[in-house]
C-alpha cells in the first residue's frame, strides 16, 4: 500500500462522512450564500465595514436575529434591549434543542459545537437524517453543521467586500430556504408519521399570524403548539391507563 493510499484509508470514515454530508447541505449553501451576502451588503452599506458582520456571523450565527441586529446597530440600542429582543426571536431554538436531545446524546466532544451551530436550516436538514450504518453519524452531523456555518460566513464576507459587483438579478434566490422547509415538510409527511403534529404546526402558526401579525407571532404560535401537543400527551396517557 502506498503512503497516499494509507492516508486515505486512515481518513476514510471521516472522508465518507464529509462526502455523505456535502450534498445534504447544497440547498442550504444556495440560501446561506445569498442571505449571508445580503447581510454583508446591508452591514457594510450602513458603514460597519467587513469585520463587524464577519464577527457577528461567526459568533452569533443566527440569520433572522442578525437581520434584526442591523436595527440594533443603527439605533445603537441599550444592550439589555438587544438581549431580550434576541431571546424572544430565538425562543424557537428551544424546540430544536428538545427535538435533538436524543440525537445528540452520545455526540461527545462534538456536542458543544453541534448545539452552538443548530440553526433553523441545520435543524431542518438533520432532524430527519439517519446516515447509513457504515458512516460515522456524528461526523455527518458535524460536517453538515460546519459546512452550513462556513456558507453563512463566506456569504457574509463576499457580500461585505463585493456588494456592488453583483451583476445578475438575484431577487428571489432566498426562496431556496422556503423551498427547503417545504421539501422537508413533504418528506416528513411521506414518512407517514406525525401528520397531526405537522397540521398543528401549520394551523396554529397561521392563526397566530392572523391575530398577532408577522412581527410577533412566533412566541404565541409556540405556546399554542405546546398547548395542543401537551393536551394530546395527557389524552394518550389517560387512554393507556384505561386499557
Amino acid at each position: 500500500m502506498s503512503y497516499k493510499e494509507e492516508i486515505c484509508e486512515q481518513h476514510s470514515p471521516n472522508l465518507s462522512a464529509l462526502r455523505y454530508a456535502f450534498p445534504k447541505t447544497a440547498p442550504v449553501m444556495a440560501g446561506y450564500l445569498v442571505l449571508g451576502a445580503a447581510y454583508g451588503i446591508l452591514m457594510s452599506g450602513n458603514g460597519h465595514g467587513i469585520w463587524w458582520p464577519l464577527l457577528i456571523s461567526v459568533f452569533v450565527y443566527a440569520g433572522s436575529l442578525q437581520y434584526l441586529g442591523i436595527t440594533f446597530f443603527v439605533a445603537l440600542v441599550n444592550p439589555w434591549y438587544a438581549f431580550f429582543m434576541s431571546l424572544m426571536l430565538n425562543a424557537r431554538h428551544l424546540f430544536y434543542g428538545i427535538s435533538m436531545l436524543d440525537k445528540y446524546r452520545e455526540a461527545g466532544k462534538l456536542k458543544p459545537y453541534l448545539i452552538f451551530a443548530l440553526t433553523d436550516e441545520t435543524f431542518s436538514v438533520l432532524c430527519n437524517e439517519e446516515p447509513p450504518k457504515d458512516i460515522p453519524k456524528y461526523m455527518v452531523y458535524f460536517f453538515v453543521s460546519l459546512l452550513d456555518h462556513f456558507y453563512w460566513v463566506a456569504g457574509t464576507f463576499l457580500g461585505a467586500i463585493a456588494g456592488s459587483m453583483i451583476t445578475f438579478n438575484t431577487a428571489g434566490m432566498d426562496f431556496a430556504l422556503t423551498a427547503l422547509f417545504v421539501v422537508i415538510f413533504v418528506d416528513q409527511w411521506k414518512s407517514g408519521k406525525g401528520h397531526w403534529s405537522a397540521v398543528t404546526g401549520i394551523v396554529a402558526s397561521v392563526i397566530c399570524l392572523k391575530i398577532f401579525g408577522s412581527s410577533g407571532f412566533i412566541v404565541p404560535a409556540m405556546i399554542l403548539i405546546l398547548g395542543i401537543i401537551t393536551s394530546a400527551y395527557y389524552r394518550e396517557k389517560r387512554k393507556e391507563k384505561q386499557s
Binding site: L76, S99, L101, V199, Y233
Partner: protein, 111 residues
C-alpha cells in the same frame, strides 16, 4: 477603543449570549446522563413535525394576498415543489426547480 465601539461590542455580546442560552438550555436542563422525563421525550418525538410547519409559515409570513400578485408567486412555487417532491422525491431537484420557478415568476411575470 472609543465609546461607540464598546456600545457595538456590548450589543454583539448580548446577541451571542441570548443565542447561546436558547440553543444550550434544553441540553443543560435534560443532560445525557439522566433519563429524560416522558413528557419531554414525547415533545422531542412530536415537535419536529410541528416546528417545520411553523418554519414554513414563518418563511411565508410576508406574503400579501390582498395586493397584486395576491401571493401567486409563492403559492404556485410551493404547489410545484410539493407535486415535484411527491412524485420524484429528489430534494435538490425540488428545491432548485422551485427556486428557479419563483425567480422567474417574481422577476419576469408578476413584475
Amino acid at each position: 477603543m472609543n465609546q461607540e465601539m464598546i456600545s457595538y461590542l456590548l450589543i454583539v455580546i448580548s446577541m451571542v449570549a441570548a443565542t447561546v442560552i436558547t440553543r444550550f438550555l434544553p441540553f443543560i436542563m435534560f443532560p445525557a446522563g439522566k433519563e429524560t422525563p416522558p413528557y419531554i421525550a414525547y415533545l422531542g418525538k412530536t415537535l419536529p413535525y410541528a416546528t417545520i410547519g411553523l418554519l414554513v409559515v414563518y418563511c411565508l409570513k410576508g406574503v400579501s394576498f390582498q395586493s397584486y400578485p395576491y401571493g401567486l408567486s409563492e403559492a404556485l412555487s410551493v404547489v410545484l415543489i410539493v407535486i415535484l417532491h411527491h412524485i420524484k422525491g429528489n430534494s435538490l431537484l425540488s428545491i432548485g426547480a422551485g427556486t428557479a420557478f419563483y425567480m422567474i415568476l417574481t422577476q419576469l411575470i408578476f413584475r
